[in-house]
């Protein structure tokens, strides 16, 4: 098989240049893999809820009404009400913005820091590599969620610190991927050729290395979005970061946990379901983005 692919002068799959055909390629991927299409649809929904959520919901997510406390799902309250009679549907939708922002902020932060550190380590080697490697190793020596707990506990209980902690525990992952990708390309033929063409080392880094590893970093980002949300929700589940009564999925599940044993399942179930759906969507999306960027790695 391997032999066969070599024959064809220009494989049809790559007919158009990578930059201009991204949209067409995306259409092709979605058509071929409906699951990815579904994930993109779901993503649009999450985005919608994150941006317009607070204006779309039927009730004030903070307004309690003890006369209707702990009611099961009904036409008036789709997801039921909690112990204070707050509408769970409104709270679940309103929470999207906070959870989504935490994930995006931490992923963006770690992409900048980890990606930059990794690329420099891989390309320049030497002491930069040693220092970045040592930092990554030290972070990796901790169970990551435990380290995040420690960081938030030490820095103080706030949403910003949750973002920072999530970024820190993802740092080794980004630094390592970027380092490995930059390192294999450091001596690649086309980089050597660019050296011969008179490009300086920094210029090589910017024009030859970085553009070629961006797609891989994009895949990395979409794959870690889900993990970032899970991590943030986990922290607030044990009482770190977000404080009640702020609507946030992790804390809502925590509040509903005590009602599970007495059968009021909806209090914890719907925020948990929303959390799960979001993470599921990001994971599917990550696979989809990988297909988009690198069709050959598809199994």
């Amino acid at each position: 098989m391997n032999e066969m692919s070599k024959v064809e002068p220009a494989p049809l799959r790559f007919e158009a240049p990578p930059s201009t055909s991204l949209l067409a390629h995306a259409r092709h991927i979605v058509a071929e893999n409906p699951v990815t299409g579904f994930a993109f649809g779901l993503f649009a929904l999450i985005l919608l809820a994150a941006v317009f959520g607070p204006w779309l919901v039927p009730y004030d997510p903070l307004a309690s009404n003890t006369s209707v406390s702990l009611q099961g799902p009904s036409a008036a309250h789709w997801f039921g009400t909690d112990q204070l009679g707050r509408d769970i549907f409104s709270r679940v939708v309103a929470a999207t913005r906070l959870d989504f922002s935490i994930a995006v902020a931490s992923v963006a932060l770690v992409f900048l820091l980890g990606g930059l550190a990794g690329v420099m380590a891989g390309f320049f080697g030497g002491w930069v590599d040693t220092v970045v490697g040592r930092i990554a190793d030290t972070i990796m020596a901790f169970p990551l969620f435990v380290l995040a707990m420690g960081i938030v506990a030490a820095l103080g209980n706030s949403v910003t610190n949750i973002v920072i902690a999530t970024a820190i525990i993802n740092f080794p992952l980004y630094a390592r991927v970027a380092r490995a990708e930059a390192n294999v390309r450091r001596e690649a033929g086309f980089v050597q050729a660019a050296r011969l063409s008179g490009n300086s080392e920094w210029r090589l880094l910017l024009t030859q290395i970085v553009p070629n590893i961006m797609p891989i970093m994009a895949v990395q980002m979409s794959l870690t979005m889900g993990y970032a949300i899970l991590n943030a929700a986990g922290l607030s589940f044990i009482g770190l970061g977000v404080r009640p009564p702020t609507p946030e999925w992790g804390i809502m599940v925590a509040e509903g946990a005590s009602f599970i044993v007495s059968g009021e399942w909806w209090v914890a179930f719907f925020p948990g379901l929303a959390l799960m759906t979001a993470v599921f969507c990001f994971n599917l999306l990550g696979d989809g983005v990988r297909d988009l960027v690198d069709p050959q790695r598809r199994n």
Binding site: R134, D137, T138, M140, A141, F142, P143, L144, F145, V146, L147, A148, M149, G150, I151, A153, A154, L155, G156, G226, Y227, L230, A233, G234, F237, I238, G239, L240, G250, V253, A254, G256, A257, I260, V261, S262, G263, W265, A268, F269, G272, L273, L275, M276, V279, F280, N283, L284, D287, N299
Partner: protein, 337 residues
């Protein structure tokens, strides 16, 4: 072999040093009054000042670091405000509960994940392969505390098969004499089958929760590495020499495919030790995780610091074990390490 173990042991030294430095930094250098943290929210100013000088916080940083390390070496992690006990004693008391839970979870997970991953790779495209994909994608999407609550609702509230999610042992049973600290083992040593089955029924749901959580990475890795190995040249050679399917898959493919899976176990342990905290909270499991969560809520700082340090040292040790296991399977590492 011994040389390899010694070499691996050597590589853990920087990790341990890093861990100690980071835990030190987390308490002493970050903003906020550490003495106030340690004294707890209700402490008076004198109490805080007292604690400050007792902890040596009025000393310069390097001096503090030295005394911190000296205390560590003596096994002194401070005293918990909530329990009034030394943190070391508290952790030692509770660690077996967490370890037992994690290990049972991991065993269940591997018992399902390895065969599933191998079968999915061997029968690529079959229903078992699709099942494997669903498990791998759904598994990583499930928040572990949510899975736990769902299991409690279904198996305790609806079906009534499982006991109430309240700790390691029903109140009607007494703990067997402590030998290993693992109730399942200690009850067997004491030949107390009643306690054994009671402990087993308590541990099943939380362990299953952890298993579902770690199922995805192991399955995914097993399938991927098995697929890669099945496409390797040496498997083609083995097939072309007429070796039986069992031999090709069992001896040639599986052992090679296990190498990346063993490496993945390191990551799985990292996830498991974190997830443990959440699962212990859901099931009121009296382990180190719920100890840390209680301390967090009480702003009781010494236990949290002790917990983070203990978990990190434990994790470094687990990674060492994994490295050694890798060397046992792979002669390239064994002979050159």
């Amino acid at each position: 072999m011994l040389g390899m173990i010694a070499a691996r042991l050597k590589t853990t030294i920087p990790s341990v040093i890093g861990v100690i430095i980071v835990t030190f930094l987390l308490t002493r250098v970050l903003p906020g009054d550490t003495a106030a943290y340690f004294a707890g929210p209700a402490a008076s100013n004198e109490a805080i000042a007292d604690i400050r000088s007792k902890l040596g916080l009025d000393q310069p940083l390097p001096v503090q670091f030295v005394s911190y390390v000296v205390a560590l070496v003596r096994g002194d992690l401070g005293t918990s405000l909530t329990t009034g006990q030394p943190v070391t004693a508290d952790l030692a008391q509770r660690l077996p509960a967490s370890a037992e839970l994690t290990l049972v979870g991991l065993l269940i997970s591997m018992a399902i994940a390895l065969p599933l991953g191998v079968l999915a790779a061997v029968r690529q495209g079959s229903w078992i392969d699709h099942l494997c994909r669903i498990v791998a994608t759904a598994g990583v999407s499930l928040p572990v505390f949510f899975t736990g609550l769902l299991l409690v609702y279904v198996f305790y509230f609806i079906l009534g098969w499982a006991p109430a999610p309240l700790g390691r042992l029903d109140v009607f049973f007494s703990e067997p004499p402590r030998v290993t600290g693992f109730l399942l083992i200690d009850s067997l040593i004491a030949r107390d089958l009643g306690t054994f089955s009671a402990a087993l029924s308590q541990i099943l749901l939380p362990a299953l929760t952890l298993a579902i959580f770690s199922l995805a990475p192991i399955t995914r890795m097993t399938r991927a590495s098995m697929l890669a190995v099945l496409g390797a040249d040496f498997v083609r050679t083995a097939r072309a020499s007429g070796l039986s399917t069992r031999k090709v898959i069992g001896t040639y493919a599986f052992r090679n495919a296990m190498l990346p899976v063993v490496t993945t176990l390191g990551m799985v342990f990292s996830f498991l030790l974190g997830a443990n905290v959440l699962v212990e909270k859901v099931f009121a499991w009296p382990g180190v995780g719920s100890y840390a969560v209680e301390a967090l809520l009480a702003s009781d700082y010494a236990p949290i610091q002790g917990f983070v340090l203990t978990m990190a040292i434990l994790y470094v040790a687990l990674n060492l074990l994994i490295d050694i296991l890798y060397g046992v399977i792979d002669p390239r590492v064994r002979l050159e390490g």
